[in-house]
């Protein structure tokens, strides 16, 4: 790992003999930010704010800046991230490289849509400013390009105005995919929508969940900087704590925590967007074996058979997951050549790793996704095969022409080497 602290630190003064891969906060769940026998270019030291225009909301910053740092700067000034994932501990460079999405995808599209320009530095020392009009092909290849096209050193992002930290929240219980779809269709005008879904319950409780929606409050209020998280999991918990009984119990409690069918209120943006960030190192809950993520999108189908089959495969496996999220993606096009989101229903969840069963399950989920014309998300994947990846992203060969010859990743090796 070689840290870069300045935009001028790359190309490295003494280039290593190995392949290179940029890594920001390292929050991707799979191996897009890993490289065996290689050198990771660690960008967290490039965390400067370079310019902010309060008239337009355009922020220019270095690519190692974390979204949490942008919020600390922007919220008191009356601005918010245009798109945010479920954790604020990711860097701007990582947000571009994975073309991340959030609860407002159906309105705002991906993060890349709000990136006006960035600088891309190649290992040969060439530097490009990329935007939809300057070097547009490099712009498209780098957004969602998994860090493979070169090092992003700075970027311009358009923030959105807010007057309050609060979100006007509404939670609605649902049972079954049809009810989930009906709620989604009825709330397309709401900026943020996402649902928690129970992946353990079967029978009459199959596919029950809570549909959560919210808009930024329009009542002006003081907007102090967020406090730093106080809770943390200091050690790995024993892996056996998470099983289908404990998770089934958790899910029942969580589902019934909201007593009535509908709950409304004003909530701070921190618990609304980043519930897990309040416990540092929450991943240790999964024990030392860790967790696997799975996220797919399935295009709209008349009876949603693809999503239903996936949920049935998960509940039947008994491989519990309580952090399961389902959402409707909108049809706002993604600017990246390799961007993940597409119109349809997306499901994201995690599993404790039990090699003998969880790998089989993931392979089954990938096959259902493929059969229904969907695709899986590279940033959350550790298991898809080369055949599957190349079917999900038939443009991969065109993309590979943009990869920096000195760059590589464990993910890219895995999905381009047919075994």
């Amino acid at each position: 790992m070689v840290p870069v602290h300045w935009t001028t630190d790359f190309p490295l003064a003494k280039p290593p003999a190995t392949k290179l891969l940029p890594v920001g906060a390292g929050r991707s769940y799979g191996d897009v930010c890993l490289l065996e026998d290689g050198t990771l270019i660690q960008t967290l030291g490039m965390d400067r704010l370079l310019h902010f225009d309060p008239q337009t909301g355009v922020l220019r910053c270095e690519a190692g800046l974390m979204l949490a740092q942008i919020l600390d700067f922007a919220v008191p000034r009356g601005f918010f991230l245009p798109v945010t994932p479920g954790t604020k501990y990711v860097t701007v460079g990582g947000a571009i490289a994975n073309d991340i999405h959030g609860k407002n995808h159906h309105i705002a599209g991906t993060f890349g849509r709000h990136v006006l320009r960035f600088e891309l530095v190649r290992s040969d020392g060439s530097r490009f400013v990329c935007s939809p009009t300057e070097n547009p092909d490099w712009f498209a290849a780098t957004i969602g390009g998994m860090g493979l096209t070169g090092l992003i050193t700075w970027a311009e992002v358009r923030l959105r105005p807010i007057v309050s930290r609060k979100i006007n929240y509404q939670g609605d219980k649902f049972v079954g995919i049809d009810e989930f779809v009906a709620l989604s269709k009825a709330s397309t005008h709401v900026e943020y929508t996402v649902s928690w879904i129970d992946c353990v319950a079967t029978g009459k409780n199959f596919a029950r969940g809570i549909f959560m929606q919210g808009d930024h409050s329009t009542i002006p209020e003081p907007r102090p900087v967020s406090k730093e998280p106080k809770l943390m999991l200091p050690v790995d918990l024993p892996g056996f704590l998470l099983n289908k009984f404990s998770i089934g119990l958790f899910n029942t409690l969580y589902y019934n925590k909201q007593l009535g069918p509908r709950k409304t209120g004003l909530v701070d943006y921190e618990p609304f967007f980043y519930p897990l960030d309040s416990v540092l190192h929450w991943n240790r809950m999964y024990g030392k074996n860790g967790l696997l993520q799975f996220q797919c999108v399935i295009p709209w189908e008349a009876d949603q058979t693809g999503i239903t089959q996936i949920l049935k495969a998960i509940t039947a496996s008994g491989l519990a997951s309580f952090l399961a999220v389902i959402k409707v993606f909108g049809d706002v096009p993604s600017p990246g050549m390799m961007s993940f989101p597409a119109p349809g229903i997306t499901l994201a969840l995690d599993f404790p790793i039990r090699p003998e069963v969880s790998f089989d399950l993931l392979d089954r989920l990938a096959r259902i996704t493929l059969d229904h014309g969907g695709r899986m998300y590279a940033a959350k994947d550790a298991r898809m095969t080369a055949e599957q990846f190349q079917a999900f992203y038939p443009q991969w060969q065109e993309f590979s022409r943009y990869i920096d010859p000195a760059f590589d990743s464990a993910f890219w090796r895995r999905v381009t080497t047919r075994g």
């Binding site: 070689v2 300045w6 935009t7 001028t8 400067r48 704010l49 370079l50 700067f73």
Partner: protein
Amino acid sequence: MLGATSAIAEATLRLLAIEGASFFLVARNAQKLAAVRDDLLTRGASSVTAHVMDLDDTVAHPAMLEGAAKTLGTIDLALLAHGVLGEQPDAEASYAAAETILKTNFLSAVSLITWLANYFESTKQGCLAVISSVAGDRGRKSNYVYGASKGGLNVFVDGVRNRIDRAGVHVLTIKPGFVATPMTAHIKPNPLFAQPAQVGRHILKAIEKRKDVAYVPPFWALIMLIIRSIPGRIFKKLNV
């Protein structure tokens, strides 16, 4: 701010920028200095003047410092943050390598502090804060040349404090332990490492509390107390 592109300096400057401070920044690398300037202006600094120079050039110090005083009107706080870790094996092998470390860390600081002490003494106000190191507390085989440069600096600053404290000037010696910065990027991380942002907060607190000497983070005071207390006949056998 002398050595404004040092990671500890930057972390401290960011906190002052939020309060709308005006800065005169000095560093060697123009591109890095411009990035620091842009960052501070974006965060809320009232004004930032960037001055590019090599602080080893002691002859140019008085003109630069006079320029700073003129630009700012008054200097309320001077923070010395420049320095090099150097390569201990080189410094053991050749005096020339040792001299480079001593010049940058000690002699150039002596030159700057001489001017600044006289300035603050005559204006009867202000804070002179000098970033030294825990390494200056006791010579160890792993980095005694760097340690000597900082140890010499500690004694010099102690003397300056004794002289100008009575004029109402706050003189602060800052002694950081391991800080995760470009200077220490080659050292294997250990639990004692602190982040620059945390160190910056401790430095501001030490300035506000008008401390004489501040170990940052403060637990280093205890560690160094133990290290200084080890009897010499034992210490000389240790690998520390």
